[in-house]
Each structure stands twice: as C-alpha cells, then as structure tokens.
Amino acid sequence: MKRCPLSRLEDLFAALAESYKLYIPTDGEKGSSFTLWSEGAEISRRLNTARPPKDFFFPQSEDLMGFKTHGQTVELVDLRTEKEDFALFGVRACDAESLNILDRVFLSEPGDSYYASRREKGVIFTLACNKPAETCFCTAFGIDPSRPGGDVSCIECGEYLYLEPLTQKGEAALERLSAVTEDCDSAEAEPQREKIAKTVSRLPLADLSTEGFGEGKTDELFSDERWAELSRCCIGCGSCTFVCPTCQCYDIKDFKNGSGVVRYRCWDSCMYSDFTKMSAGQPRTDQTSRFRQRFMHKLVYFPENNDGVFGCVGCGRCVAKCPVSMNIVKVMRTLGGKKDE
C-alpha cells in the first residue's frame, strides 16, 4: 500500500496527467461530473457525480460505422479509432462495481469491441465514501464502500490518501506516481474504514435486502399484482435508466449526414413504449409491464444469467432523480423481504 499526503493531491493529479488523460469529479452549479483535469481543478466535495462514469465506456451516443452509397453499391467505412489511455480518479465503490456488471454484458462472447477498447485503455482509481448519503444502499448488493474496487482502491484517512493497487493495470499506474507516494502499512487506513462501516450501518436504507429476489424467482414475482400499484404514477420517462450505472440497453440508428450514412448507437430504455414495438405488434402494452421489465431484469433475470449477481449497485441515483419518486428501493421493499426476517 502507498500513501500520498492530501496536501499533495494536486501533485498526484499532475503526475497522473503526464501518463493519462485524467478525469476527476468536479463541482458545477448543477451537480458534479467527471471533467478533464487541469491545473488547479478541485475534486468535488459532493458524494457522487450526477451521471455515472458509464459514459466513458458506453457513451450516450457513439458512431459505430459509416456507409457511402453510390447507385446500387454500398461501401462500408470503419469509424473506429485508436483510443487514448485515460484515468478516472474518484470513482465510488458502487460505480466501480457497475463496470463489472457492464463487463458481463459487453465483454461476454461475442464481445463488443467499442466497449472493450475503452475498458482496456481506462484505469480506474476508486475512492472510499467517507460521507455516504441517505440514498445509498450499495451494501444490499454486497459492496463495501470503504473498500472500493477498480484498478487502484483509494481512501482518505487523516492527512493522507491511501492507495492500494488491485490489478496489474493499477500497479503500473501506481509506479508512475512514485515521486508523490511512499510505502506505508495497510493498517493505517483501518480507522477510517471502521468509521465508514459505522456510518453505513446507520443509513436509512441499511436494512434493504435482496431477500426474495434472484435466480428462480421469475414466476412468483412476475405475476405479483403489486406491480400495478408500484408503477401507477410512473410517467414512462427514461431518467432512471439513463442515470443508472448498470443499464445498458441500446438502440442502433442510421443518420444521413449529407455525405453518407452514419450508423450510431445510443442509450435506450425499456421504460419507453417504442422499445419493443414492432410492425407485428407490441408485447408490452402498458407502463406496468415496462416498469416490471426494468426491475425484473435487474433483480431476477440478470442474476439468473450471471451467477446470482444482481444488476444494481445501490448508487441511489434513480432514488434521487425519478420525477415521481418511483425506484428500485420501493420495489425491493414492497416485493421483497427485509434483513433478519
């Protein structure tokens, strides 16, 4: 384990920026976001960014390929470019875990080369959550906010930032920071970890549990009548989907730009009525069935296909952002069980 005095954080960023395009969460008037680091940039004092770091790997919209057409012929243009090495600093435990979930989708055969190339080039410095929010419930999914994952796991304790490499990529990144870091005993950060554990145990959503969800629950949960009540006021927008670090549904569309055609993909949402609409019909005709699909996917279908891993990391963004306060917490409370019950 290494440590760097918090007073030298700027130097650490500068050292990182020499090898990587470095992004850190910074504060704006409307929330915080990962922005390209420049000298003097201050790291956000908010718990988390408004949008998850998903954009860096699976952007809202990206060009897949181009076509040029002349008469009857079609020419394919590969628009893929070599990606630069980049580093994200300050990714929270939940968001770091969300990338493992996205990996299960995009890196499983046949792998998605657009996502894969960004994952290869990106190195993730996570940061433990010293001040979790009331909307946090990562622990329900077995995530420890005091020991975030990623390539290098960081925690602020006392006057220092402690950095622990978790992957080879992380070790390589840390080697480049030797001028600003020094070796230390891994026990030094323990007091802060204990403090976080204590805070987390008192969070209002600490009792949330995945009891009642997971593999083999399709029949029982799908036919539950309470979906209608849960989704009654859902306005069918995609805010929950688009602020979600694990939602990965997409649409593929063609755009004619005057000189040819660009085929791009963009985020899509199972909450939208046109998501499953075909000329032959519409299998999900009402908002209740679309609402149910989103949560069944995260809490039952995804674990069924992924060794019991849930498709939610408890970041709480949907809890904070839903225009009408519908969210996965309410679904879990209503249809599932509580801890120790």
């Binding site: 009857q72 394919l76 997409y250």
Partner: protein, 277 residues
C-alpha cells in the same frame, strides 16, 4: 479495416435475384460481392439485413444450409426496411451480418423422428430452411408431413417449390389449405388448426410450427388435445431486435434473449418464460 472483430459491423451483400411470391412477400437471393455465400448457418437461424440510411432488421434465413451458393430470405412487406427492400432491384447492395440464434435441433432431437411441420402464411419462411435440410438428409428422419395454410391460394409462399419438389418427394406429404373458397382451388379449405385436427396425426411425432399468434395458439391447443407433449413441439419467435447478440436488451423475455437463446424454442421452454411475447 480494424483488426478487432466487431459483431455489429456487417458484410456487404448483393441481391442477385428477386422472386415475387405473393402480393406482399418477395424472396431475395443474397451473396457477397465476390459471389459467395456470406456465411454458413443452421436451419432456423437468422441474419440482420440492412439498408444503410433506412435501418437494420432481423430476418430468418429461408434457404437451407445445404445450399452452398447463396442465401435466401422471404420477406413480407411490413415496415421501413421491408418496404425499401421490396422496391430494390437485382444488383442492389445491402448489408448482412449473422448467423444469429439457436437453430432447430436437426442433428440431435429431430434425428430418427417423424416430423410434422405446421405453418401459416409467411410462417413458412423460417420452416423452409428446415424442411429443405431434412429433405436433403432424407434418411435421417422418418415420415415428413407438412401442413401449410394461407389466407388465399395467392398468399401461399414458395408455391411452385412446394408443388414441383416437396410434393414429389417420397415419404413427404404436403397438406395445403386456404382460409376461404376460391375459384380454381380444389384443395382443402379451412383454418390450419382445424385442418391439423382433421388430419389426425399421432402424437409420436415431433411438431414444428410457425405462423401468426392466433394460429400458434389454437394449433398448440389442438396438438395438446391430440396427445402431443409440449416437449415434442417446437416453434420460432419474433420480437424486435437491434443487436442480434443478446446485448441491446430489446428481445429480453425473462432470463432469455430471443436473438441468442431463441428464436427456436421448445414449447415446454416457452411455458417457463413470463407471458409477454
């Protein structure tokens, strides 16, 4: 081109033949620009065809894998991409990627069985590939019965192939029907589900059905009454798809993705899926 293989990037295909099947169905023959088959497939699998600038859509491959020269797609006019294709002429280039999905178990469960194919309308398209495959390897399978119905005689897809080839094969019985009486038609008249019951097949066969939802529903009911086990009945599903590789989320039903876990399902497998297809 980038060295990394990307499943979403298609190949260029050329339409080398367009056959008018019915007033709203045309069959397109597709090869690569150098005249080869775009890729190998198994009966029941699908391919993504696209018209750049218009869109991409999933179609079942209607030609048999035993055809080494080209692929065929029987396509009903019913949306942006299909409208455009119906206006396309021979020589038109499109894009093609695939094959996608789980095929019919022609080399495992079907082997040694008497096969009963039941199709309605454009539903024959995905079955044509299997039927021709089974005809090509005739000795691997028992008796083959094909029950095929459409609204009218004009709506029967692949009519010439059925009459000139399938009907001539030994051990293959073709039973055609149309919904309503029509001048010049001396064959059976009536809906597919009731015709199947009339023909009275024994439940030791493996049934393979494809057609409009109503036909599927009542045929399944009828087969059940005739003593067929759901595990001996196969069907193929259609849902909206975009990626074809189980990632875009559109065709997700329960823990399955129709594009990769289907489109072929055994009916007892379907029973385990939530009812939203």
């Amino acid at each position: 081109m980038n060295e990394r293989n990307e499943p979403l990037i298609p190949k260029i295909g050329v339409i080398t033949d367009v056959r008018i099947d019915t007033p709203d169905v045309k069959t397109f023959r597709v090869v690569t620009p150098d005249g080869k088959k775009a890729f190998e497939h198994k009966p029941g699998q699908c391919a993504m065809l696209s018209v750049p600038g218009v869109g991409e859509a999933m179609f079942s491959i209607t030609s048999s894998p035993t055809n080494t020269e080209y692929m065929e797609f029987s396509i009903k006019k019913c949306g942006c991409v299909t409208d455009w294709l119906h206006r396309a002429e021979v020589g038109q280039q499109i894009t093609i990627r695939g094959p996608y999905g789980r095929p019919f178990p022609v080399d495992s469960e079907f082997v040694g069985k008497d096969l009963l194919f039941i199709a309605g309308g454009i539903g024959l398209a995905p079955l044509r590939s299997v039927i021709n495959y089974c005809r090509a390897y005739r000795d691997r399978y028992g008796r083959i019965d094909i029950v095929y119905g459409a609204r009218s005689a004009d709506d029967l897809v692949d009519y010439r192939e059925i009459i000139e080839q399938w009907c001539e094969d030994e051990g293959v019985s073709v039973h055609l029907t149309i919904d309503r009486e029509q001048e010049g038609w001396d064959g059976h008249v009536g809906f597919v589900p009731s015709y199947v019951k009339e023909l009275g097949f024994t439940p030791d066969r493996t049934a393979i059905l494809c057609g409009p939802p109503v036909m599927i529903k009542f045929t399944l009911q009828g087969l059940g009454e005739m003593g067929f086990e759901k595990s001996d009945v196969y069907t193929t599903m259609e849902l909206r798809m975009k990626c074809g590789i189980g990632k875009c989320g559109r065709c997700n039903i329960g823990a399955k993705y129709v594009c990769k876990d289907g489109p072929v399902f055994r009916c007892d497998e379907l029973d385990e899926l939530p009812d939203e297809y």
